[in-house]
Symmetry: C2
Subunit: 447 residues, 2 copies
């Protein structure tokens, strides 16, 4: 490699879980949404994508390794939209002695090698594409020294990789404003509150399925836009979503969990309602998901207030938002009803939380109510793994020592090891396929 | 008993299964709906309510036996609305020699004894209340020689017992027009086509649950009206339901199964979508119900047309409409995926249909597609019983020899015998509770 014309960056980015859901594209070509949405960017402790980008004049073509396996990106519209989009924003790059290495706009001859890995199950409804594409775009921006001509410009590129990815470019509570311009240039993310605004916010994640969903988000929302009148009503200007966006942003700013939690649950349910109203209908939640909903409502009824709030993305996994004063109780409650197959602490991906939850005493009246409304206690296996996490920052640049690419050869050096993704139930093949779908590689190929 | 002033009638009435769903009351007091609906009245061969009414001057009070067990109806608003409503419509009654036995309007001194039994599981989403209240009202009308001052007047009384009951007063395809008058007098049933109009129509019913639903229709729709914006949109004037009513009535009249089937499925899904949009959400379908939906869509895709159409009421049970040219195939397909716990012919409540379905050869490609989209073959137990039925007539007057009441004593003589309800999984207590709920007896008592 020509080391003078080779630049690299490695960084990590977190997932985000929407409170007001994005479902439906206004323009498929631009990947703009039919309604605005807002999400909490999650801490990167457990759930993150790590990505290395190396740009070099000596590379023959763009290459991509996903979790150690190379994918052909020649025809990947989404991947190339990100690389080309950020490259066009590329700025002047100077060396340590302040000497100009690459002029502004001088990135045309550079090709990239990218290696990316997830620390969590891919394409199972944990917003893996959000983490993946936000990491890619931010990493490209670092390498190309891209500077925004207006705030949020980078998020308009990430959006073209995967809609929800634009929201992971920032930490805390982040809105994706749908925008109104025909070219999509104002359809971008905006931070409502940073990750320190509401430090008490917690998210308990129940991973219910280890299977890839049978309807991809892109395919599902296309059918929904075409066939669900309820979705059209929900998304119309000044309609349900617009009112909820106002409500929840105010709630988050004022740290009003009651209001935040209620609208979060309502919007999750309404999103899944529009999926059911789609023809043919789409189901993402299963009977286990529904039992979580019933238990959370029973819990709130027992508390006499909205103390926990579930939300479900395009998959059966439950994310339960709550504040830190009840998180031990909420986790303990979930462990009663979803004890997991494993008997050790690895079931809960937060040893401290697990320890505290094990010590928590649950009220017998509460349990009886949940038994009645939710489901029987102690059924193992329906939940595969539990994360206890919180709101976190946007992408974090890492040391070159963490690079997934060998900086001498320019080739991937990351190899998936058994258990490396922190998730025993997923095979290597499953991950490769998952990541391929995530980056639109498989999709592009089939066309 | 004073036999000169004692009159009786015994009749049977069928259930109905809505294609455009009723969900939500405009007036709780009048039991008027927020939207019109339309249903197929089912044949009474397997699924019916049999009711005997005896009216006598010598009775001290109104009495009711449900499946052999007496219930206190003193405070049952719904029961008394029916008895009083029909009594007010009472006409002149003449004897065999044409002599006047009771003058028009001369029924004020009469009290009634009523005995009623179902031949199918109660309150499990098979529209038991429709059969029950239509039988009651029609039977009262026979006894009181009630004549309508306008067509459909009787259905306005049945509606006060249970909304959907008004549609069971007639056979075939029956609409419930929501009406617009403040007193509810034009909120009534109207026959769109009689039961002979489309004799090829079949209904395959999969009884998925033997449990009473955990949210009653009345309670559920109240919460939905209060909290679901999607329901408001669906039901608004000139909205989704109004357009669908037009479409499906035209389809039924023209015997266009494609159009009939598609809108039936869409409306079932939209009804359940509004339940999910309710806060807290209501779930009536379970994972088995959903697998039926997926298998029906896979079947239609394989056929290249809408050849079967599912619909789900307020419960997990599936009703699959199809025409007689495919009913053996549809039943055979269902038996592959829902073989039932019993290995004998009693699982399918139509011996001939079962025999034919057993002989039907299913395409391997179809089965592979259903395996992929729906669920694994051969899982027993999720479906408890299968009915194969068709459209049928409204209430049918029976011979006095079939009376459920001893005409000498005026007391109930029907005793539930083990298996008498054609349904091994339901206990006597379950039935009594179910029927009590059905007639609003338990509810009235608790108040």
């Amino acid at each position: 490699m020509d080391s003078k014309h080779t630049f690299t960056c490695t960084l990590s980015s977190g997932t985000n879980i929407a409170c007001i859901k994005y479902w439906g594209k206004k323009s498929v070509a631009l990947n703009t949404p039919i309604n605005s949405s807002v999400s909490v960017t999650l801490d990167q402790k457990d759930l993150k994508t790590v990505t290395t980008v190396v740009a070099s004049k000596s590379f023959e073509k763009n290459r991509l390794w996903l979790n150690g396996t190379e994918e052909d990106v020649t025809n990947s519209k989404r991947f190339n939209a990100c690389v080309d989009g950020v490259r066009r924003m590329g700025g002047e790059r100077r060396g340590e002695g302040k000497e100009v290495l690459v002029e502004k706009g001088g990135w045309g001859d550079y090709k990239v090698h990218v290696s990316s890995m997830n620390t969590f199950p891919t394409a199972a409804g944990l917003a893996s594409s959000a983490a993946g594409y936000s990491a890619l775009v931010k990493c490209l921006a670092e390498v190309f020294c891209a500077s925004e001509s207006y705030p949020g410009e980078l998020s308009t590129i990430a959006r073209q990789g995967s809609g929800s990815a634009c929201r992971s470019l920032q930490g805390g509570f982040v809105a994706w404003r749908m925008g109104s311009k025909a070219d999509g240039s104002d359809s971008m993310a905006e931070q409502v509150c940073n990750e320190n605004h509401w430090p008490e916010m917690r998210a308990v994640i129940l991973v219910i399925s280890d299977l890839k969903k049978d309807t991809s988000s892109t395919e599902g929302m296309g059918t929904s836009v075409d066939t669900s009148e309820l979705l059209g009503f929900r998304a119309r200007e000044g309609g349900v979503v617009d009112r909820r966006m106002e409500l929840i942003e105010k709630a988050y700013k004022e740290r009003d969990f009651e209001a935040f939690g209620k609208v979060t649950m309502q919007d999750s349910n309404q999103f899944h309602a529009t999926c059911l109203d789609t023809y043919p209908p789409i189901f993402y939640m299963n009977d286990t998901s529904k039992s979580v909903i019933k238990i959370v409502h029973a819990y709130n009824a027992w508390k006499g207030r909205v103390a926990a709030a579930y939300t479900f993305d395009a998959g059966p996994n439950a994310v339960i938002y709550c504040l830190d004063d009840v998180v031990d109780e909420v986790l303990a409650l979930m462990l009663q009803y979803y004890p997991g197959r494993r008997l050790d602490g690895r079931y809960v991906r937060d040893g401290e939380a697990w320890g505290r939850a094990r010590g928590a005493k649950l009220d017998e009246g509460l349990l009886r109510e949940c038994d009645k409304k939710g489901r029987r206690r102690g059924i193992r296996g329906d939940v595969k793994m539990v994360y206890v996490t919180k709101s976190g920052p946007g992408p974090i640049v890492m040391d070159d020592g963490e690079s997934l690419i060998d900086l001498k050869t320019g080739l991937n050096r990351f190899k998936k090891q058994r258990g490396e993704v922190g998730w025993g139930g997923l095979t290597g093949v499953g991950i490769a396929v998952g990541l391929a779908v995530l980056f639109g590689v498989g999709l592009a190929r089939r066309k």
